[in-house]
Symmetry: C2
Subunit: 334 residues, 2 copies
């Protein structure tokens, strides 16, 4: 099987490749070749158990998707995007990458499909990473599987449009698409970034690394999480699932964990003790408080669960995943 990963230099893309490399499979199927693409040249790790190439590509630039689809990948995992804050700050850039890039990708697949003889048509599995940003407040305490999409950011709008295109192109038989709406991924590895949601990861990650973290909101703030490990698991499952079980409704809220900041802190305490917790400095920020108040807190993901998607058991599992993957399994000692 040949796999194309778009946005492969990103956080989830890199974790996905690591996980495919572990036993050479994606969704239980043997991978023969992985093609990596990103506007930042993706690193090709040494010693992979399959062929792997990487290219530096601006997704919506002329010819890019045609070249990538020309290689006829069996599974296409579309992770390339600019995130919420940047898409809000730069209107043209967000629409160009998140909408036009996605549209061009889907169209290149459609045209490749059409070029084939009937019954022999090119018909890849396409996995689209959507987001809970397709929802906008006000919403119910738990958002159900049939709640409407009224995004309050351009990023969320672009993801919602990508979902609609994915469903229509799948319905028409151009490809076999599935859209997965990821929860906020925590603990995001690496350096703190400026995303308004950054503290959800930061208050765990920084103390686990012996550093101070700032908490700008109240302990009672509730949000919706999945670990990078779960996100990678969703992608494996989305690659393997029998999409006839989806019918025409190809976009799914992924399962996750609804937890408060206080619950994060208690999980940190269990994993690393009071001294780690003492590294969290409370410094309330009304701007961030306000943004976060408009975010989804909880979901009823009956549909995805019944389709076999699984998420983190509790906040301890989310902390554990970070310690395993980023700290070599070693709990920090203070």
């Amino acid at each position: 099987m040949k796999v194309l990963i778009l946005g492969a230099a990103g956080m989830i893309g890199r974790k996905l490749l690591e996980s495919i490399a572990r036993d050479g499979t994606l969704g239980g199927k043997r991978v023969d070749e992985a093609v990596l693409s990103d506007v930042v040249l993706p690193a090709v790790p040494a010693g992979l158990p399959f062929a792997c190439s990487a290219s530096q590509d601006d997704l919506p630039a002329p010819g890019v998707v045609e070249r990538l689809i020309g290689g006829r990948p069996d599974v296409i995992i579309h992770l390339a995007a600019i995130v919420s804050g940047e898409a809000e700050a730069d209107f043209d850039k967000g629409y160009r990458i998140n909408l036009e890039g996605t549209q061009r990708l889907f169209d290149a697949i459609r045209l490749a499909h059409g070029a084939s003889r009937p019954g022999e048509g090119y018909f890849p599995r396409v996995i689209f990473s959507s987001s809970i940003a397709v929802f906008g407040a006000p919403f119910p305490d738990r958002i159900g599987d049939e709640f409407f999409t009224t995004p309050l950011t351009s990023y969320g709008t672009q993801k919602a449009i990508g979902e609609l295109l994915l469903a229509d192109y799948s319905r028409r038989g151009f490809f076999d698409g599935i859209g997965i709406r990821l929860p906020t991924i925590a603990i995001r590895p690496g350096k703190p970034n400026k995303a308004a949601s950054g503290f959800f990861s930061g208050i765990l990650r920084e103390p686990l690394n012996g550093q101070e973290a700032v908490l700008p909101v109240s302990d009672q703030v509730r949000h919706w999480f999945a670990s990078p490990r779960s996100a990678v698991g969703f992608l494996h499952h989305a690659a393997a699932i029998d999409t006839s079980r989806l019918g025409a409704r190809r976009n799914l809220n992924m399962p996750g964990l609804s937890a408060t900041v206080a619950e994060e802190i208690e999980a940190l305490r269990r994993a690393a003790g009071d001294k780690a917790v003492a590294l969290i400095r409370r410094e309330s920020d009304p701007v961030i408080e306000k943004i976060v108040a408009g975010w989804a807190r909880d979901f009823d993901t009956t549909r995805a669960l019944s389709l076999g998607f699984t998420a983190d058991r509790d906040m301890d599992a989310i902390v554990e995943a970070y310690i395993d993957e980023e700290l070599g399994g070693k709990r920090p000692q203070f």
Copy 2:
């Protein structure tokens, strides 16, 4: 006030112009100029109480929307579209007119807005005619205001995307948009067409004109209707409404009438007698039965009603509107 009507040669566009002409107002405000645009050159009726010009334009063609927006209309009523059947039969044409055309229009307004000095920005009201085709079966018996959009046609997909763009461009302050999801318009005047929904109008219109009509489905089929008169009323109200009452949720299910085929027939009987009803020939068509089984039957439109949109009282009002507007107020005699 200057009004631009896109798709002005269509059924609703012509009825809208007639109604604006009646007392020279749209949504209670005086119209000084109407600009009509359509790929079929719109007729300019004689004796209008305001300036009126018309041009033959292919909406997504280069330069078209820029020229039309260059005239800085205060209200833009976007009715141009190819309908469901054609967008399904011709994938490229549907996406080109219904999606790309809409996107280009919104972008031309955005760029015109941006070209203005702050506080003096060009900021028109934009009314987008969407459709209940944004919904796809299975759905509840009554679709509520927060039900999700899972279209089962490319046309419905294109309308749902137009709605998302309208909401995002409005949220960012480029224009003041409102999307109205029209019920199936009946009685559609003119000749029978090949739309699968055509019989809903045909079984009333043909007998009212002394002609035979074919009914391809059972009497118990239920659907969601509004008269052309109501549709025009929605547009007037959408032009006048205080959009701050909409918040970020700019797209609304319009009110309508949920009625069965049997109820249509009884209204015909009341208006034109048994001889008119006898002109309906039952000839069941399993293909049409199947298509229609996937259509929405009823809506709970609390939100639009509370915002002051109003629809037809009953099926008699729908028949009455046709007799008034198309038969010069004369009930047919048999």
